[in-house]
Symmetry: C2
Subunit: 232 residues, 2 copies
């Protein structure tokens, strides 16, 4: 979709509409997918007996579905499968924002939220394909190098998914922003970037000399377009 | 408490007991506090009309209370105050863990979960103290350099807290771990550390030459004791 001619995509529901600072909200699939695809881990929210729980877990996307997985014995997976409502949030912290008042201290970030119902991948072949997509999300080409999963391993693993239909993104990327009149206050103000990188790989004791270290594909810090100045 | 003589601290409730891989669970306040104090952002889970929501937000701890804040108009804050059940999770990703089977791919991480009921800080002086603690959590000594908050700013800000009573930590820090017999499979295996650092501070246009950049206090990657080998 060309946003220049059609205008911004509206929220898919009132539940995901960004109310506070609506100029930080984005609802187009390209932006939603970009932040999901830059994520290694998301926070899965679910409810048991009225109590909310939030479980961090690895997430990955294929097409219109967002996936997560774990042991078939896990409480989170047993509780969420079967069409129960969940909320999955992924968050990237980009900078600490220091202003001249405590009130205007903030963070620059990219955040995505997906609401919906969670279903289990039942079919063995579909489960295998989803687990392949998980590994390939982080390390393209790696799946075919691995010892294939056994039927016991597939059985012990549950894979869940949610449709990416009701979702929104919230981005703050404007750095420091003081109240008018505060600029002369004698305190430093600005941004302190947060940088996430991969360190030196640590082979386990069984890696043979000369074996190639796998590529890690994920861009740990996705670059995003800055908001136009008039939207600040 | 000296854990060498008293043994590990048991879970404070069954709801926070780590069921899967119980050796990864920790319930002592020193470990809980260390992971909370290393966190800039937590994920606040809450329920509206049966739907869970997860909102990432800045968190900070003072004594036995964990705090978060935001606009008094925010949906999350309006919904959670008044004794409603919440779950706050903070998560630190330490490494991607690559094994020789897809099944044993994993992550090394530190995670903390606090369950309880959320209350609002009502008193203006207590609210001011909490906001001071927020700024000082990240930048010790900075609060006194700032333009003090106005009563309008205090009114526009809600501060919430939860008692740190029902909480647990989950840590994985064991790197790659293959099934017996898989070690000879010809794929690289090991850990790829995730390193979070602060980048070069970016002053805003009003910072005067020679003004000192504030210290950022938070250790972005808290070092934790490795689990004893027999607990793997």
């Amino acid at each position: 979709m060309n946003e220049r001619t059609t205008g911004p995509v509206p929220p898919s529901s009132d539940r995901v509409r960004v109310r506070r600072k609506p100029d930080r909200g984005h609802y187009d699939r390209a932006t939603i997918d970009a932040i999901l695809d830059a994520s290694i881990v998301g926070s899965v929210g679910y409810v048991i007996d009225g109590q909310p729980y939030v479980t961090p877990t690895a997430i990955w996307r294929t097409g219109d579905r967002l996936f997560w997985h774990g042991s078939s014995a896990s409480r989170m997976l047993r509780q969420t499968k079967g069409g129960l409502p969940v909320c999955i949030t992924a968050f990237h912290l980009d900078a600490l924002v220091l202003a001249r008042s405590g009130f205007n201290h903030s963070l620059d970030y990219r955040s995505v939220m997906v609401l919906g119902r969670a279903y289990e991948v039942e079919d063995d072949e579909a489960k295998r394909a989803a687990l392949r997509a998980f590994v390939e999300h982080l390390y393209p080409g790696r799946w075919d190098e691995l010892r294939p999963p056994t039927s016991q391993e597939l059985k012990a693993t549950s894979v869940l998914w949610i449709e990416i239909a009701e979702a929104s993104v919230k981005i703050r990327d404007i750095g420091a922003h003081d109240e008018p009149g505060d600029e002369a206050w004698p305190a430093w103000a600005g941004s302190i970037p947060i940088v996430t990188t991969f360190g030196t790989p640590v082979p386990d004791p069984f890696v043979q000399p000369g074996m190639e270290t796998p590529v890690v594909a994920l861009a740990p810090r996705l670059s995003t377009p800055r908001l136009p100045e008039e939207d600040w």
